[in-house]
């Protein structure tokens, strides 16, 4: 029997089904994404394209195979809701009763209730539990605030505030997603470690800042040179085992500088519609001026 046409049709069907699933559908879903205004009222467009230095840094990141050991994608397993009590209102007795009945708080009678507002009265709840408590407290005349706390191992490690979304990579080409995690995830490293000198020292000698780091040192991105008259202002400040011999200094080459600019530009922490999150509270001093507080750059 000649099964040729059947085999051809079967493999054609299998290949086209996976092409539809892996290529066409994602393209229809995400192919036309644009900068968007995020849902928390910051009015900033997200994402911003990286500055020119950082775009050159992406090439250095790519050339040195950083993506072989560092991923740039944060996972998330769910979202917990915290309820904050912000105002008690006139009927403090009713509020105290509600808190006693529906939360684990104990010290809610008398002055204990008003102490330390705004205070967290419910943590790790589901949205419906939080909404129930909010509704109860609203009838008592108190005011509350909801805080969304993304959960997951990556977030617990401090690698990001929320899961990564397609928009995070809108301006990157190629996208340095990475798949191995020999080192930590870098999706949000610019927000986590903002100090350029720390990054330079870490690239030159990883063990100088992190004792047991398995990262290779990238000394070829730096130049060891004789100090002629004045030491360069760019010279690395290294800890004692890594200091160059007297009369020499370690200066970053442009490659190292642009790579650090790229690392500093890695911010994936803006609250988006598809990645809901309550950003960390602004410093208390600026609470009188909500517009100024929310326009502050995400740090």
């Amino acid at each position: 029997m000649n099964y040729g046409p059947l085999i051809f049709l079967a493999s054609f069907f299998a290949l086209s089904a996976s092409w539809f699933g892996f290529v066409l559908t994602p393209q229809i879903q995400l192919g036309r994404q644009q900068q968007q205004t995020n849902t928390v009222n910051t009015a900033e467009l997200y994402p911003q394209s990286r500055p020119g230095e950082a775009r050159q840094g992406l090439e250095i990141y790519r050339a040195n195979g950083c993506a072989a050991c560092h991923s740039q994608q944060v996972g998330q397993t769910g979202t917990a809701v915290d309820v904050l009590l912000t105002e008690i209102g006139a009927n403090s007795v009713a509020v105290a009763d509600t808190l006693k009945a529906h939360t684990k708080l104990t010290n809610v009678s008398g002055p204990g209730l008003a102490a330390g507002l705004p205070k967290t009265i419910l943590t790790g709840a589901t949205m419906s539990e939080a909404n129930q408590l909010t509704a109860r407290l609203k009838t008592d005349g108190a005011k509350t605030e909801l805080r969304l706390v993304p959960l997951g191992p990556d977030i617990a490690r401090g690698w990001g505030l929320r899961h990564s979304v397609a928009a995070d990579f809108l301006f990157d080409s190629p996208v340095m997603l990475g798949s191995q995690r020999v080192g930590p995830d870098l999706a949000n490293v610019g927000a986590r470690l903002s100090d350029a000198n720390w990054h330079l020292a870490h690239l030159y000698a990883p063990r100088s800042v992190i004792k047991d780091s398995p990262m290779p040192s990238y000394r070829f991105l730096f130049e060891k040179r004789k100090i002629k008259q004045q030491p360069s202002s760019d010279a690395l400040q290294l800890s004692k085992d890594f200091v160059p011999p007297a009369g020499f200094e370690i200066v970053p080459k442009p490659e190292a500088k642009v790579l650090v600019a790229y690392l500093q530009s890695l911010h994936a922490n803006a609250p988006l519609f598809e990645a809901p999150l309550t950003p960390p509270r602004a410093p208390a001093a600026s609470t009188n001026n909500p517009a100024a507080a929310t326009n502050a750059p995400a740090k």
């Binding site: 229809i28 879903q29 205004t37 009015a43 998330q76 969304l148 979304v165 519609f273 598809e274």
Partner: protein, 205 residues
């Protein structure tokens, strides 16, 4: 001779294949496959998010994502700032103060803060030509029409300017519907408005 060989050649594979062809798929396998298909469909329905681009791993549907967006969707004034930063800053400046004699300020401007937004929407849609007095200062220049922007963008940017408390503006929101209605009204207006002409039209019209 040749017909005989053909016969014997064609007969052999037939007799080899017949037991394979005759075999039937056991009924339990069919039932198992139908059950797996059913489970797969349920799993897809629960976790697929229906291919919405807004739905990522921990959430299962766009409705679930929406539940977590406590603010209740994008703030029109916040979205308006994005439009302002692209469109208006060049003349009116990021501070909203404009430039003396050329570009009137939006900060505390009586034109911006009118209770009814009719005149402001007209200016944004059709532009403004010639002398105008804002906060007692004379200005004489031309503003280009921005009717290329969408109704939403115009409503958002006017809302942003009118509700910008940093600038001391405290007027009402403007909705896309208001802009759409005004767009139909001024469709046949030749060129830009002048200040005198605007003053003759009641602000709520």
């Amino acid at each position: 001779m040749s017909s005989e060989t053909n016969k014997s050649v064609s007969a052999t594979p037939d007799s080899d294949e017949s037991p394979v062809r005759g075999a039937t798929v056991p009924i339990w396998l069919i039932i198992l496959m139908v059950m797996l298909l059913y489970w797969g469909a349920l799993y897809f329905d629960n976790n697929g998010g229906w291919f919405s681009m807004q739905v990522y791993a921990p959430y299962r549907s766009e409705a679930e994502v929406q539940i977590f967006n406590v603010g209740g969707g994008p703030n029109p004034a916040a979205a308006g700032k994005a439009v302002y930063d692209k469109t208006c800053v060049a003349c009116h400046q990021a501070t909203g103060l404009g430039a003396p004699g050329q570009f009137p300020p939006l900060v505390g401007s009586e034109w911006v803060n009118e209770a009814e937004p009719g005149r402001v929407i007209r200016i944004v849609l059709q532009g403004l030509q010639g002398p105008i007095t804002v906060k007692g200062q004379p200005f004489n220049n031309a503003m280009v029409p921005w009717n290329s922007l969408s109704d939403e963008d115009i409503a958002n940017v006017i809302s942003y300017v009118r509700q910008n408390t940093e600038w001391g503006n405290k007027a009402s929101l403007v909705t896309p519907a208001q802009v759409k209605a005004m767009r139909d009204k001024v469709k046949n207006h030749p060129g830009a408005f002048t200040a005198d002409e605007l003053l003759k039209i009641a602000p709520n019209e």
